[in-house]
């Protein structure tokens, strides 16, 4: 299978871009280092933290700041000395993973739908808002979009768990075998609400999904100690996501 880089050799560079996230951004970094993202220019910066440090962010005056405990990690990840991240510092922001886990939303919704359940518009709005706004990272994205109308704000939720890798805490057998249409219905609820916030959601590509509600093990994380990690994904997955992101920006 050709890599995304081979598929799109004449790619135009992305605009100045900040990829904001938690441990999931490691796969993007690895993809970049492996040459899988040739269209990403020097205008790219990473910003974020992983583990408990990801909770050590504060937002004020269009700026995200790490608390003392997280400063060192943010500095290491960013590598450009940018501790304070302003909402107007880049022309585009891609929130990547960042604790917004689609595995916590899509499988239970699919289970409800596939058992004949129905969510009224009022219920849909309530559950979607609670899922999205329950994450500080999404609230930061909301603030960035609200305060900086000319800036592109995209959020790529952490993908579905990888099939057959590790032991998930909870599974949704009723969601197994869900169709693309069923997934599109539930993801469409998220898209609609995020759209009202000026945020575009970037979902994992359909071709990475197997058995209705799992990520294809082909895209499992590849690093040391990742044998039982169903959460993180491979650099190839990140490359595919960034390729979709670029297409999204191109309209």
């Amino acid at each position: 299978m050709p890599s995304p880089a081979e598929q799109q050799p004449m790619a135009a560079p992305l605009p100045s871009l900040c990829i904001f996230g938690d441990s999931h951004i490691a796969s993007v970094r690895q993809a970049l280092d492996a040459g899988l993202l040739p269209y990403v220019s020097d205008h790219l910066e990473f910003w974020g933290a992983y583990g408990p440090a990801f909770r050590q962010f504060e937002y004020q005056d269009n700026t995200v700041l790490p608390r003392k405990d997280a400063e060192e990690m943010v500095a290491m990840i960013n590598g450009h000395g940018r501790l304070a991240l302003r909402g107007d510092a880049f022309s585009a922001y891609l929130f990547y993973g960042a604790r917004l886990r689609i595995a916590d939303f899509l499988p239970p919704m699919l289970a409800t739908l596939r058992q004949g359940g129905h969510l009224s518009a009022a219920v849909r709005q309530r559950v979607v808002r609670r899922f999205l706004e329950g994450r500080k990272s999404y609230r930061i994205a909301q603030q960035f979009a609200r305060a900086n109308p000319g800036v592109s704000v995209t959020f790529a939720p952490a993908p579905l768990l990888t099939l057959g890798v590790g032991v998930p805490e909870k599974t949704w057998p009723e969601a197994e075998g869900a169709t693309a249409d069923e997934r599109a219905e539930a993801l469409g609820w998220l898209d609609a609400e995020a759209g009202l916030d000026g945020i575009t959601l970037l979902h994992q590509p359909e071709e990475t999904i197997v058995q209705g509600c799992w990520t294809d093990p082909h895209f499992a994380a590849t690093g040391p100690g990742s044998e039982d990690d169903p959460v993180h994904k491979s650099p190839a997955f990140a490359a595919l996501m960034l390729s979709r992101y670029r297409a999204l920006l191109a309209g």
Partner: protein
């Protein structure tokens, strides 16, 4: 000289069963013929008081089965949307006829009514007008939502071992032309009252008995092993449309329902009656389980009722045997601590 009364237990005599005891010491009010066991899926439906029973069973680790659970992420708002109140999202089912309608619709034995109520641009289902706090956004949405509830009713009936149904009222309103019985009087919560179209019914004993026999026949056909446990709601009417005083109308209503329940128990081996009605309402208990409005039942009253329930079950069948907990089953937290009673809507119109 020997006669049938010489060998009867103390509970059979007023002096030893009641008069010589503190009301809270009275025991053996129920000789259950059906064992309610912790491993058995139990479904609940009916009027307001049935909510207490489902909640108490779940709290004690019994397997109260929610066939239409709240979607993920709704959390504490589930009760506002009437999830987790009964085993399916019908709202209160006050009459035997309403229960029969729901079951017939669920099993395709009745045409689905296309009668919708409208208020302030929103759509309300006349069979459960309070199910969404602000109504539905369209007829299509209301129809789809009702369809999901019908699926859940089938799942509940075909999964459960015991169906606890609380008979609530005899009074109801119906469409004169189609006979469709509404959950509430049109015009109270939504819809418009039309005196030429909407008729008042105060169901009589024979009609209620016939409806309940039809309910039992339908359940037996779809779920042959399903047992039915009846109760009668001790909650008085909020209002009566009979022209009588609401107190005497309540007596009429509850007496008829109580008589129907007794006859069903006598005629069917798989039907039982639990006397929560008597525990709350009987003069022996001096009205102590009612709130000051003499209508709502206080939590202490529900606690006493359920204490009788479990004690009488244990006396008949021994201590309950709890199966090893299985993930995602049993003891499900109920969505709301507040009992939902659409009939309260009538209070808004009380003088």
């Amino acid at each position: 000289m020997s006669h049938p009364y010489t060998s009867l237990p103390p509970r059979a005599f007023w002096r030893t069963g009641v008069a010589e005891l503190n009301p809270l010491q009275i025991s053996g009010l129920w000789q259950p013929k059906l064992a309610v066991t912790p491993g058995q899926p139990i479904i609940t439906a009916g009027s307001c008081f049935a909510q207490h029973i489902g909640r108490a069973l779940a709290a004690r680790g019994y397997q109260w089965f929610d066939a239409e659970p709240a979607p993920a992420w709704l959390f504490e708002d589930a009760g506002e949307f009437n999830y987790g109140i009964f085993s399916f999202r019908t709202g209160n089912i006050y009459t035997a006829r309403a229960l029969l309608q729901w079951l017939r619709m669920a099993y395709g034995e009745m045409e689905l009514p296309e009668d919708w109520w409208h208020a302030e641009g929103r759509v309300y289902d006349p069979l459960r007008p309070a199910i969404e706090p602000r109504g539905f956004e369209s007829v299509e949405e209301a129809r789809a939502s009702r369809g999901a509830t019908l699926v859940a009713i089938r799942r509940a009936v075909e999964t459960a071992g015991i169906f606890v149904f609380t008979l609530g009222l005899t009074e109801s309103w119906a469409d004169a032309a189609t006979g469709l019985e509404y959950a509430l009087c049109p015009g109270t919560l939504a819809g418009q009252f039309d005196p030429d179209r909407h008729v008042f019914r105060n169901h009589r004993h024979a009609a209620i008995l016939a409806d309940m026999e039809a309910v039992l026949a339908l359940l037996a056909a779809k779920a042959p092993d399903l047992k039915v446990l009846l109760t009668v709601s001790p909650v008085p009417l909020t209002a009566t449309a009979t022209g009588e005083h609401v107190l005497t109308a309540t007596s009429r209503s509850k007496s008829v329902l109580r008589a129907v329940a007794a006859e069903l128990v006598e005629d069917h081996a798989h039907v039982d009656y639990f006397p929560s009605y008597e525990i709350i309402t009987h003069p022996v208990f001096r009205g102590m389980f009612y709130a000051p409005n003499q209508r709502q039942v206080v939590p202490e009253g529900v606690e006493v009722v359920m204490r009788h329930f479990f004690a009488d079950q244990e006396a008949a069948f021994g201590p309950p045997k709890f199966p090893k907990a299985r993930k995602g089953q049993g003891g499900r937290a109920r969505a709301s601590a507040e009992v939902k009673c659409e009939e309260e809507m009538l209070n808004a119109f009380a003088r």
